[in-house]
Symmetry: C2
């Protein structure tokens, strides 16, 4: 698997854990070596693994949390790190996310996520990932 | 200078170039080796150095562009990369930014910027950087 594919795979795993309400997978995905942070849409920033995972537990544990689909993910490799920019579709609206990862052996672990509103839409011609529960 | 200080210095240089409408400094700040991207508040994502710098030329060249101040910047080192989360104050409103950097010798070069709305406010007790023209 190429570096870019592995990075996209980690990004896909994040949305699979998110959409699948899989807190165990979400917990394993976030780095427990590098410092982490998270900015949910409109929220203040969250710093530190415990607080970040607490926020995901609350989101994933909320039965009325709408489904999310990831579209048009673009990987950027920067040495031992990397990030993915992608659209998130939530109830027919699009958000734009930056997901930052760090290498952990052959895997990539998440160190940061920021998502916010966008006027853009995913390119229709690019392959799209449909995350299904 | 510690790694964290150097990363914060690069982040400060970014806001200094932004507030000072200094396109030359902004151009030097962005990596010309690693792939780059940028998500201005509400915009669709911009991919590639030329397009990213074109967007900054338009923003910096816009005389009615309001001033920006950076507050409460927090550095995160992740191997050969790093990112800074900070508040941006624009006309009394706060945005939340993620700025991603990659090491280039002893300096840090920018590879990604995303800024968007937040309900948060910078911590009043942390030192704040006031960018002055």
């Amino acid at each position: 698997m190429s570096d870019r594919d592995a990075l996209l795979f980690a990004n896909e795993a994040f949305y699979r854990a998110f959409a699948g309400r899989d807190l165990k997978a979400m917990t394993e995905l976030w780095s427990n070596e590098a410092p982490v942070a998270c900015v949910h849409p409109g929220w203040p920033p969250i710093y530190g693994r415990d607080e970040v995972l607490k926020s995901w537990a609350a989101i994933i544990g909320n039965a009325s949390q709408p489904q999310v689909q990831c579209h048009d993910a673009r990987p950027f490799i920067t040495g031992s790190g990397g990030f993915v920019i992608c659209y998130e579709e939530v109830q027919g609206q699009y958000l734009l996310a930056t997901n930052v990862f760090v290498r952990d052996g052959s895997a990539w672990r998440m160190v940061h996520h920021q998502s916010g509103p966008t006027s853009g839409k995913p390119a229709p011609t690019r392959p799209q990932l449909r995350v299904v529960n």
